[in-house]
């Protein structure tokens, strides 16, 4: 049965005479009990499509020059959503269409308890129910999303819940009125892989139970493989390819789909590596970082929070070591401690044989040349007020590289070429570059000092998969050709697989497993490593084989 039918949807955003076409002629159909995945890179118009259907775009800032979106009611009637008035839309939202957003941290109201927020939805859409019945309904809903002890949880405020639990509450809220259609906009992107796996499993189970249709938006082909019955690939506001998941993923017809799948890090072509060096560049012995927990008027230390606990690690020259783990496991703190950006509690750090653990700020300064860092967020990795030229030249001047600014500029240009950026980038400001370009510039800034060791803190996690592929190739070249040692912090197993020679797995501030990447991937020894690896949604041959015979509407039972 057809549930949602979108016909040549066009959405333009802007105002007055300045309109930007965000969605251009999308056709899609979501059937009951089926999951339709919209996949595409940032800026492709996936979210705008969902918001157009829900009528949630900012008032007066959008228009639909063309297109219709029919929501079919069980009685055979259909509501046209794009031309529906606010009254009609309010009746549909929550009751017929549920929606889940990406960011679990901000999608719940922090000043209301979980129970009150769920109760409000019911009060509005199920006015017939009395307080007791509503409470019953809320408790069942929370039980369905596997929240333990719902009777107490409904009295709690959102900040008491973890990201995964909040997303479960969001799902409960979206499903509490048993909508026919659920629109989920990247619901698992902000979550850890293990939590993501649980949420995806839960969504599949609930869908099977209620026979909902689901419009699922994601950028991750692994997630598509896990959850979609049919998939549509979007680019620049257009649907370039759509079809059954298995067909599209195993035999993509459109060149763009092929390029996207080929850009997945685990599928990137690998060049032969030079022989590994045995020269130890960075050695960490029993390093711990504790944060004191202070209380009371005198701010006495009452306890220690163990962010990094007795970690030992080595990085050789010309080697990439990946540090993986869930969020909050202390991997970023460890990275900052290695660079002496964070004071350490115990343990020692040796850089090329020299103990740098207790050097003062001033003693550390000349050594900064030898160890550099590239950060995660491309939006803040470069000083927005300075042109690229200053960002690149200043560190060279401080470290006495190059005789004068002309020589330094020439050097900067050389490194810009190295990271495949044009020389005229020097005179521009960070806001003029895209995220991927900014990360390249941040890499160039690290490289101008010719460091021996580079720390990369999730540098590709905010980037699109095709941009990520380019950056990963570049990093691999740098390591292989210049013999730089690199510690790559990430949570993306595909990236680890492509880039890392060795990997180290962190769990709750401790290193639980280290070893050669291929060995750990193939045969994880530690339980946490195993859970982590199993949770990664993959697009691999085994998936394609197991899924090949599945009918689109058949309820999913296994969770892979």
């Amino acid at each position: 049965m057809k549930l949602l039918e979108v016909e040549s949807l066009v959405t333009e955003l802007g105002e007055a005479d300045n309109w930007l076409r965000a969605v251009n002629g999308i056709n899609l159909t979501v059937n009951a009990g089926e999951t339709y995945c919209l996949v595409g890179e940032s800026g492709s118009g996936k979210s705008v499509t969902a918001l157009s259907i829900m009528g949630l775009l900012p008032a007066d800032r959008f228009r639909h020059p063309d297109g219709r979106a029919w929501l079919h009611e069980p009685g055979g009637e259909a509501l046209e959503l794009l031309s529906a008035n606010d009254e009609q839309l309010r009746g549909v939202r929550g009751r017929r269409i549920g929606m889940i957003f990406q960011e679990p941290m901000t999608s719940l109201n922090p000043v209301l308890t979980i129970g009150e927020q769920l109760d409000e939805v019911l009060r509005i859409h199920r006015p017939a129910l009395n307080a007791k019945a509503r409470r019953e309904r809320i408790l069942t809903a929370l039980g369905e999303v596997l929240i333990s002890d719902p009777a107490n949880r409904i009295l709690e405020y959102p900040h008491r819940l973890s990201g995964g639990q909040r997303q479960r509450v969001m799902i409960a809220m979206a499903l509490i009125c048993e909508p026919a259609l659920l629109i989920a906009d990247e619901p698992t992107t902000a979550l850890d892989v293990t939590v993501q796996a649980e949420i995806l499993k839960l969504m599949r189970e609930l869908q099977a139970r209620y026979g909902m249709g689901m419009l699922f938006i994601t950028h991750d082909f692994g997630v598509v493989a896990q959850i979609a019955d049919r998939v549509g690939v979007m680019r620049h506001g257009e649907l370039v390819e759509s079809g059954k998941t298995f067909d599209v993923l195993s035999n993509p017809r459109h060149a763009y789909t092929r390029s996207l799948i080929a850009a997945l890090p685990e599928r990137l072509p690998r060049s032969p590596r030079p022989p590994a060096s045995t020269q130890t560049l960075l050695a960490v012995d029993n390093l711990s970082v504790y944060f004191p927990i202070r209380q009371g008027l005198m701010r006495r230390v009452v306890d220690q929070f163990h962010a990094v606990d007795e970690v030992s690690l080595q990085v050789n020259a010309g080697e990439v070591v990946a540090l993986v783990g869930e969020s909050g496991c202390g991997k970023t703190t460890l990275g900052r401690a290695l660079l002496r950006l964070q004071t350490t509690t115990t343990g020692s750090i040796h850089l090329e044989g020299q103990d740098i653990t207790h050097l003062s700020r001033a003693e550390m300064r000349p050594l900064r040349r030898r160890m550099q860092v590239v950060f995660q967020d491309p939006g803040s990795s470069l000083n927005p007020r300075l042109p690229i030229h200053t960002s690149l030249i200043e560190p060279m001047r401080v470290h006495g590289i190059g005789e004068d600014d002309n020589a330094r500029t020439r050097r900067a240009v050389r490194f810009l070429e190295r990271v495949e950026m044009p020389a005229d980038s020097l005179w521009r400001y960070p806001h003029e570059f895209s995220g991927g370009q900014r990360q390249r510039l941040a890499i160039a800034r690290a490289l101008v000092l010719e460091p021996r060791f580079i720390l990369c803190d999730e540098i590709t996690s905010a980037l699109d998969v095709s941009v990520q592929a380019g950056i990963l190739r570049l990093l691999r070249e740098l390591v292989d050709e210049d013999g730089i040692g690199m510690l790559f912090i990430t949570h993306n197993m595909g990236v680890v697989d492509y880039l890392a020679d060795r990997m180290a797995v962190m769990h709750k501030a401790r290193l639980v497993e280290t070893g050669r990447t291929a060995a750990v991937m193939a045969d994880p020894q530690n339980l946490h490593t195993k859970t982590l690896l199993d949770a990664v949604p993959r697009l691999n041959e085994s998936f394609l084989q197991t899924r090949s015979g599945r009918a689109p509407t058949e309820p999913e039972t296994s969770c892979q």
């Binding site: 800032r61 950060f375 000083n383 200043e394 941040a442």
Partner: protein
């Protein structure tokens, strides 16, 4: 929705941030109104001796040409007159902002030193002499300022002087805005008082800004114990009632406009320190600051090149409101009768409006209007600056 903002950001022109803010600021009507009034005030303040003075600009008596106005110009007049072109010239030079700022300070200091050593106007000023000369018919040529009365010319040669409404016309004299209780011309006093209004705003706020930025910056960057001590200091200074402190200082040490500027300055810095601290606390964790530390850059560069320009936006806004409140503080003090005695000030004129048994409307309307317009202009400027530097309001206006 992040996709959209990325798109609009790419289209922005390749200009430094300061230029972008300036362009965006000048595009706003309210900012233009505010800036025009402040600009007008600056011009009036600079050229006030030429606009209102009892001394003729050019005088020929018995075939002898002289310029009493130039002879009677004080050192302060010369500092203003040379300062304005100098500031404009330095502003146009292609220098970094902090170098411009420094050269303006040095330049002003030098001109002040030179002016106060070289210029020595006659100590005894007799305003009546020109009118007497004119009456006796000895004057061959005389060019006077548009308002031929000095701020302290109490018109003693006219026996009947006192408080006069502008509607009261006398054959010998015209006072566009009437006279005050001493018989001085209100228009002239207001023109000369504009210097005090501008000066107290800029200097008091400047002092507060420098102290606040340094203390706030150190608190924000080092946090920990420095922050705790700094915040206690801020709280101590916030507990000081500025007006009462000013009153007691005036009572103990006499009346001096410079003392007022300093006192307003050293009590008003706490707000700026809070702003800078908050910005620095936020910026300290930003990746580009961490990267600057990781590059081994010196502390000076990290604080002033990488952090301060990024945390400047709220400070600029606070500054323009701060200028307005400093002007109000001086006006309040003068209104209470504890401001300057002889030197003109808007608040003091306002005070006279209610001093005598009748309500002297011209002493309320004109100085009150000037205070209102100036404070209003600074507030307009502050509001527009807030919109111009804030990317969120900026975007909602554009997209």
């Amino acid at each position: 929705m992040t996709e959209l903002s990325a798109d609009t950001e790419m289209k922005q022109p390749s200009q430094p941030w300061t230029t972008q803010v300036a362009v965006s600021l000048l595009g706003r009507t309210s900012a233009r109104i505010g800036l025009s009034w402040i600009g007008l005030l600056v011009i009036i303040a600079t050229f006030s001796p030429f606009l209102a003075s009892s001394h003729p600009l050019y005088l020929v008596v018995d075939g002898q040409a002289s310029s009493p106005l130039l002879q009677h110009m004080t050192a302060l007049d010369w500092v203003w007159l040379t300062g304005l072109p100098m500031i404009l010239a330095i502003a146009l030079l292609p220098l970094p902002l902090w170098k411009k700022f420094l050269s303006v300070l040095v330049g002003l200091g030098l001109t002040a030193m030179i002016a106060y050593t070289v210029v020595s106007p006659p100590a005894l000023v007799i305003y009546e002499q020109y009118r007497e000369l004119e009456a006796t018919g000895k004057v061959e040529t005389m060019i006077r300022a548009p308002i031929p009365y000095s701020a302290k010319d109490y018109l003693r040669d006219y026996a009947d002087t006192g408080i006069e409404s502008p509607l009261l016309t006398s054959e010998q004299r015209t006072h566009w805005m009437g006279t005050d209780e001493n018989g001085a011309d209100v228009a002239s006093r207001m023109i000369h008082a504009s210097r005090i209004a501008l000066g107290i705003g800029f200097i008091a706020t400047g002092i507060a800004l420098v102290i606040g930025t340094i203390i706030g910056g150190l608190m924000g960057y080092f946090s920990g114990i420095v922050d705790i001590i700094g915040m206690r200091l801020v709280e101590i200074f916030e507990a000081i009632p500025t007006l009462f402190l000013l009153l007691s200082f005036v009572a103990f040490f006499g009346r001096s406009i410079y003392m007022m500027m300093v006192i307003i300055g050293i009590t008003a810095w706490s707000g700026y320190a809070r702003y800078v601290r908050a910005e620095f606390l936020k910026l300290r964790q930003q990746d580009f600051v961490q990267a600057a530390v990781a590059c081994g850059l010196p502390l000076r560069s990290i604080l002033f090149r990488h952090m301060l320009p990024n945390g400047l936006a709220p400070l600029l806004v606070a500054t323009s409101f701060g200028v307005a409140s400093a002007i109000l503080a001086e006006a309040t003090l003068s209104f209470l009768g504890l401001g300057l005695i002889d030197d003109p000030s808007w608040g003091q004129l306002l005070n006279q409006a209610v001093q005598s048994s009748t309500f002297n409307w011209w002493l309320a309307v004109f100085p009150g209007g000037a205070i209102f317009l100036t404070v209003f202009s600074y507030n307009l400027l502050g509001e527009s600056l807030r919109d111009a530097v804030d990317p969120h309001t900026n975007r909602s206006k554009r997209a």
